[in-house]
């Protein structure tokens, strides 16, 4: 690794992405926006307030966080696996002065950037649903980027282990979908029974969803330091493991 060499890989991915910009945006944003419409507007109209928010207000920040997760994780599974196998992009890159560390960092930062873009577009769309974020929402952007780093790294770990595309079904069905449903996007985790609450709170998306809600509305009720430190540590470990496994796969 050499300083910011990984940036050239980011630029390469950006160049390709520009050609398919519409398809990827619709692919990444369709689901969270439809959920916001169906659950928030459709179901939420007849529901009581949750933690002092309308149901639509309650789920909106978490759905933005989920958009980051989906976009980042899909980029470094299906996208990265295509570059690794079908297109042999990694092989081509490793014949240049760039090394595996540059490659891993470039892919993860790229996935995080794409994830953050999806999150930002979701947040920008909230006023259409009558949800007006507080100025604190600016502080949410680095949190979403960090979450994007984490899920990009997880995706890249899967890519390093994958034998074919079907392998990613395990990842989406057993990791991503449960996280989407049980990380406190749709119901408050705090009010669950203690053992269940304990389990849900250590899921990697849970602190991000809480932070999204706190920063989106500027309502600082619960401590945030532990959530940030925990997410940083988890991201650091995931990035390291992705680098270790991809190196093992690429260098025999």
């Amino acid at each position: 690794m050499n300083g910011f060499s990984f940036w050239t890989i980011w630029l390469r991915n950006g160049r390709v992405w520009k050609k398919h910009i519409l398809a990827t945006l619709i692919g990444n944003l369709g689901q969270p926006l439809l959920f916001l419409l169906a659950m928030g507007y459709g179901l939420g109209r007849d529901m009581a307030a949750v933690e002092g928010l309308t149901y639509l207000q309650f789920i909106a920040p978490g759905l933005a966080a989920s958009a980051v997760m989906y976009s980042a994780a899909l980029e470094t599974t299906y996208g990265s696996y295509t570059r690794l196998t079908v297109q042999k992009t990694y092989e081509a890159i490793l014949m240049t002065p760039l090394g595996v560390a540059d490659l891993v960092l470039g892919e993860i930062v790229w996935g995080a950037s794409k994830g953050m873009l999806a999150g930002v577009i979701m947040l920008a769309a909230l006023p259409l649903f009558g949800v007006i974020p507080s100025p604190w929402v600016v502080a949410l952007l680095p949190v979403l980027f960090l979450s994007g780093m984490f899920f990009s790294a997880c995706g890249l770990i899967m890519t390093a282990l994958a034998k074919n595309y079907d392998f990613f079904n395990y990842f989406t069905s057993l990791v991503i979908t449960p996280l989407f449903l049980f990380s406190g996007i749709f119901f408050p985790v705090q009010t669950m029974a203690p053992p269940v609450r304990g389990i849900l709170e250590i899921l990697p998306l849970t602190p991000i969803v809480s932070l999204s809600r706190i920063l989106c509305y500027g309502r600082f009720g619960e401590p945030i330091l532990m959530k940030i430190v925990g997410s940083l540590l988890a991201t650091g470990c995931a990035v390291w493991l992705a680098g270790y496994l991809l190196r093992r796969r690429l260098i025999q």
Binding site: T89, T96, Q252
Partner: protein, 342 residues
């Protein structure tokens, strides 16, 4: 058509030519090649790679001198690609020493790879990007300053006759155009060593000849090359030195024509016929200094001297050809006729 490209590539290599034996290769332990440092581009000593229990590369030593094209030959699974991948750091060596540009590999790989160009066996172009974008993107990996990239891309597009397809997406290119683009991409950093892994695989003769022509120009300008190919005609045309690998070891190395004359002979008679006819001919050919080989209902006679006097004997046989001995004869003689399927 190539005037501007010609100037560009003229500054590529050394200004002096070389001749004679420029490569030394052995499979033995103790014979490290000794050359003046500045002329040795690649120096490999005792290189070994074990995959689990299998020895893919077994104690190989060789050197490549500046301005030379060295052909790596060998059946499938002989260890050619593993050897190249070790030079590039894509495979970790189990033992041995690699020095490229007088730098130790893999320790200085970043510096080494900045000065190498590689044409990989498998197409690794970015299919979503255009011809020109592929070159620009690759230049980015080498962090070539933007103002230089523009000029180099233009020169390479013209040199490889791709300037009319610059905005074409890779999917719409023919096999030959893709290969030319891979070559152009490999030259984007003005490499001091060009590694060509099967550069014309799967191409039609026209496309292949165009690439040979361009490689010959590069060679005339002194570019050092390492070439692997199953097309032995390609190797004969381009390489001054060959290194034949089998089962991970160097079987023979040297100047190709010399090796052919020494190990195969001057010319070859290939004769078709019934077993009885061939038996009779085989007996007549004993009068001449030649080795013989029977494969099915075919007789090969490798003549080590002028056997013209036997042509009238052959005239009575069914069908026969008389041709100069070539690299393929040498290759078959050294590595056998049995199929190698991995």
């Amino acid at each position: 058509m190539l005037s501007s490209a010609g100037q560009f590539f003229l500054r590529e290599g050394p200004s002096i030519g070389y001749s004679g034996a420029m490569i030394q290769a052995t499979s033995q332990q103790d014979s490290a090649p000794v050359f003046p440092a500045s002329q040795t581009v690649v120096s490999v000593t005792g290189l070994t790679k074990r995959f689990g229990g299998r020895l893919a590369v077994d104690n190989i030593s060789f050197a490549i001198q500046r301005g030379q094209c060295v052909g790596f030959l060998g059946p499938n699974g002989a260890g050619k690609t593993t050897c190249i991948n070790m030079l590039l750091g894509l495979v970790e060596k189990s033992a041995g020493e690699i020095r490229i540009f007088d730098l130790e590999a893999p320790r200085f790989h970043r510096q080494i790879k900045a000065r190498i160009g590689v044409v990989p066996q498998a197409d690794s172009l970015d299919p979503d990007l255009s011809v020109e974008e592929n070159l620009r993107t690759y230049a980015g990996y080498f962090r070539i300053p933007r103002r230089l990239v523009r000029a180099r891309v233009e020169e390479l597009l013209h040199f490889f006759a791709l300037h009319n397809r610059r905005d074409e997406i890779i999917e719409h290119l023919s096999g030959g155009q893709r290969r030319r683009l891979l070559l152009a991409r490999a030259l984007i950093n003005e490499p001091h060593l060009l590694i060509l892994d099967e550069p014309t695989i799967g191409l039609d003769p026209q496309a292949r000849h165009l690439i040979w022509e361009r490689l010959a120009i590069l060679q005339a300008q002194g570019t050092t090359m390492l070439l692997t190919s199953h097309y032995l005609e390609e190797v004969s045309r381009l390489s001054q030195q060959v290194l034949i690998l089998d089962h991970g070891q160097v079987v023979v190395q040297g100047e190709p024509q010399q090796l052919i004359t020494d190990m195969v002979g001057l010319e070859v008679f290939e004769v078709d016929g019934t077993a009885a006819e061939l038996d009779a001919l085989a007996a007549s050919f004993k009068e001449c200094n030649a080795t013989q080989e029977r494969v099915g209902d075919k007789l090969y006679v490798y003549a080590r001297e002028d056997c013209s006097r036997l042509v009238k004997v052959l005239g009575e046989a069914g069908s026969w050809v008389r041709r100069p001995a070539n690299l393929e004869d040498l290759f078959i003689q050294l590595t056998g006729r049995s199929l190698r399927e991995s």
